[in-house]
């Protein structure tokens, strides 16, 4: 059990570092989803299932989802601005 906890703890550290080192927002959002899932797994292994459930639902699903939607919106805005520059009305 302690071995499993140690393994997941290391994975949480690695994925957390990955979230910080990845600079591209879309990949960062996906990496953060994995990080949230692993953190939830760690909470579960440390016998905190209540917190694990909240963590997985919020950290692995809700937050990355909102980031992805916000990125989609920003991408649209950027494309539209470039389009306006190309064809001045």
């Amino acid at each position: 059990m302690v071995l499993l906890q140690a393994m997941v703890l290391i994975l949480v550290g690695l994925s957390g570092a990955a979230v910080v080192t990845i600079r591209e927002p879309l990949r960062q959002g996906i990496a953060m989803s994995y990080y949230g899932l692993l953190l939830g797994l760690l909470f579960f292994l440390l016998q905190a299932p209540d917190v694990a459930m909240s963590q997985i639902a919020v950290g692995a699903v809700a937050l990355p989802f909102m980031i992805l939607l916000a990125l989609a919106r920003l991408k649209y805005q950027r494309e539209q601005r470039e389009r306006q520059k190309e064809t001045p009305s």
Partner: protein, 251 residues
Amino acid sequence: MTPALRLRLFLPAALLLTLLLAWALSGAPRFGTFDGRYGQWLNHHTVPQRHVTDVVTAINFDYRGWDTLGEEFILFISVIGVRLLLRTQRDERETRPRDQAPGRRATSSSASVRVLGLALIGPLVLYGLDVVTHGQLTPGGGFQGGVVLATALWLVYLAGSYETMLHVTPETLVGWTEAAGAGGYALIGLYGWLTGVAYLQNVLPLGQVGSVFSGGTIPLISLAVAGAVTGGFVLLLRAFLAEALQVRSRS
């Protein structure tokens, strides 16, 4: 500041921090040991005092129910704030939802996503309701179950379509669910106050340990929180999706 100077400042600071951290950690309790008096007291007294088998839920909705009320209103106000920020601005207009790229029809999600999503919606709703209603017995409760219920509705968008998602979550109903949940929590607390004891004191009959109807006000508060959380998260999803798919700047 040159990089060399920065490095020269960083190295001694990092060394000092490492030494202090090692010193502090050497005095920490062994991994896995727990020495919290309050936690041990709760583990010992929650079942006889509140007839609730999930101590965490008893803490959230009873012993520290006042804190959770504050947290619930943080969520409530955050959702209102997001809706206010993402409202349709004067220089924007709402169009029919379509794919991001101009002049291209929306790509529908793949067959595997649709099949998996459709198969998961029903079980996920049941699982969410189960988590909400059994918070006093097993891990879970209103917050966790509420988020699960909200994700079930997100699956409707992924497996079905945006229109279907809008159709099954009428804005008025979702808004009222959120408001009733948040207000219900405060009202349950007020009931204790009206009967002559403290605000949020557990005044209802506690029932039998292990029964779904145990814990007095705890399952009721859990239900209220579920309403507030499900409603709040669905409202957030609707606001974000509308912003990404429907709102266009006037040009």
